[in-house]
């Protein structure tokens, strides 16, 4: 997982993963056939762009703006360091 261009964007992406992806969004994406029923061990399988609103060091809203299923045939080459997992990222690293 890679997340967050600002640090609060990163925190918001982690929260989105636990609060939204695991509680409905993942099932919804499978139901809409955006994602296969079983994700491959190889990754990545999808990418999401999130809009984050922060007020006074508190993330007040996270909304998914763009969801892109990735070609299952492609795979990040794992030979160098076997990066397997997740990437969370946002834009202004502070």
């Amino acid at each position: 997982m890679s997340a967050g261009f600002t640090s609060w964007g990163t925190a918001a992406a982690a929260a989105y993963l636990t609060d939204n992806m695991l509680n409905g969004r993942y099932s919804e994406a499978r139901r809409d056939r955006l994602l296969p029923r079983t994700l491959s061990p190889a990754w990545p399988d999808f990418l999401a762009v999130l809009d984050v609103v922060v007020l006074g060091n508190v993330v007040v809203s996270v909304q998914e703006r763009y969801f892109l299923p990735l070609d299952r045939g492609a795979q990040i080459p794992a030979s160098a360091n076997q990066m397997t997992g997740l990437t969370l990222s946002s834009t202004n690293e502070v």
């Binding site: 964007g9 925190a11 918001a12 762009v49 999130l50 809009d51 202004n92 690293e93």
Partner: protein, 176 residues
Amino acid sequence: MPVWLNVVITIVGTIGLTTLGNLWIRSRDLGSGRRLIRLQHREPLSIVLVTSGNESGGIEGVQYRRHTVSLATLLAATTIAGLTASLGYRKPHEIAVSETISRAPTGDIVLLGGPIKNRLSMEFIERFNRTFPENQIRRDLREGRRVLQVGEYEAELTQNVGADGQATRDVALLVM
């Protein structure tokens, strides 16, 4: 059948069914979560935090220099660690700051923070762009606006900054 026995059977049955129902729901949620997260390797889960800055100082003649991370990045790391634990992964976590990593992790990895201050995120995005040339992730500066582009999709980065100079709106990218 005596009434007391009926009562006992009802109570035990209710508790049993409730427990079974809860176990079923729990196993279903666990299965779904693990299918999404799908950690694979036996090695510890590496969580690589963006390096926010460097600090040097000294106490009683002893000089030190250390890398620092932001509170929000730490919050993200603890969220991820809590998530993997709640999904029943019994594997330790190796938490590192991107600047201090001398060799790339060999197991499952979580990269926190964008490519400017996390060189592993930079490496990841470069690999991603080579693997998915039609959906490349790019950050551009256009007429003073900072733009995140993913394939044909565009989002403006940090559209708002508050009076204290802190971003109030941001765009985050989740790849998994």
